[in-house]
Symmetry: C2
Subunit: 259 residues, 2 copies
Amino acid sequence: MKPQLSIIKIGGNIIENPTQLSHLLELFSNIEGSKILVHGGGKKATETSKRLGIESKMVNGRRITDTESLDVAIMVYAGLVNKKIVAELQSKNTNAIGMSGADANAIRAHKRPVKEIDFGWVGDVDGVHSENLWKLLQAGFTPVFCALTHDGAGQLFNTNADTIAAELAIGMASHFKTTLYYCFEKRGVLLSIEDENSVVEHIDSSSYKELLDQGVIADGMLPKMHNCFHALQNKVHEVRIGNSSMLEKTDSKFTTITL
Amino acid sequence: MKPQLSIIKIGGNIIENPTQLSHLLELFSNIEGSKILVHGGGKKATETSKRLGIESKMVNGRRITDTESLDVAIMVYAGLVNKKIVAELQSKNTNAIGMSGADANAIRAHKRPVKEIDFGWVGDVDGVHSENLWKLLQAGFTPVFCALTHDGAGQLFNTNADTIAAELAIGMASHFKTTLYYCFEKRGVLLSIEDENSVVEHIDSSSYKELLDQGVIADGMLPKMHNCFHALQNKVHEVRIGNSSMLEKTDSKFTTITL
């Protein structure tokens, strides 16, 4: 039987709040077995860009990563956010090792092809170096990933953190029985966005279609759900969506997604 | 017989120059056996502080690391500089993994005690977690260290990169026959600072005293030499000081230091 691997992606809002982040890192530290943390950048990158006098470039409402913005992303994601999380995890007896996709050649990507929009230094993932990650996990380390990838030729890319978490889960699925957790501020997929108690506790391929038709899954939840099913279709055991309480051994509700 | 380990510290001036840096990383990639790279931050941190409107705090001519300055150091050293080096090393077939002292609990430190000056978030090294580093090296990874340490309780520190290199060499000396390279812009210790051909090719404890008496070793070279002898007194095999050409298999001159 394959060993368990938990991959937990935490969102930007949690990172903004030191108390919430600390609580979440405590829960993460308590997870048994092999685990990987993936974090977004939060508003720190936007704030830092602003302070540096770098304007956000937008085309058709989509953010463009030019060279200066990429440098800020590298500073904030791989530097400030990643190292503070790593230092705090070490204080909680988790032997964390902070990584971008370039470290240990973990996540290869290519520049997103230019169609209507040139997104700049945004990377679409080619694959995960599962053997290198396996070695790190076997040695007892807990990788902590920021949302950066590389092309193997020296270029770093900005890549969506949800996508990175899904690709890591897919990449490690041959070695591990992998559960992917998307941890954000809501308790899960909600039937009614205003009602935190309306959590849809289980979604599979057929109920997913119904929820789409009903318009329950829309906006920001669409790409997240796309990542979930992409992962499940590629041998990831299970995906869970919810707030940090889903990492506690309580009977709190969250959304479980299976094929 | 212990296996070889090369620890190469590169200075800020090399990091400022992409062509020189690229050449050095090529030479580093060609070094056989286990190796570790340690890099300083260069002027990027000062530049970034300036752009962010953060003033350098100085007391009695010594730089103070306040909370804002530490954040910039984390962004620039562990983020921008470290990840670009890692990505470039990956392109040169070196399986680099970028690290601060918090990653893999590699380098523990404590806040420098306040005597005449409170240096702020500056860390004095307590020790290196040689077992964790040994695991990484055994697995075929090449650690790339920036000049940050941690206290194990969640606090990161700014620590001199020369000191980090020496402490890593000392920490690994029980596992490896360790050679420490201080790579900077000069060809080595020079009898006359204006004459690049006046390299002192070998220094030991007794000739060191003579060079000190003669005033050949002074200013910035003093703490570097202190680090060298501290390393040698703690089982490091050999220390070399020179420019990048000492990493080439040529007959170029550099300074070798032994006890």
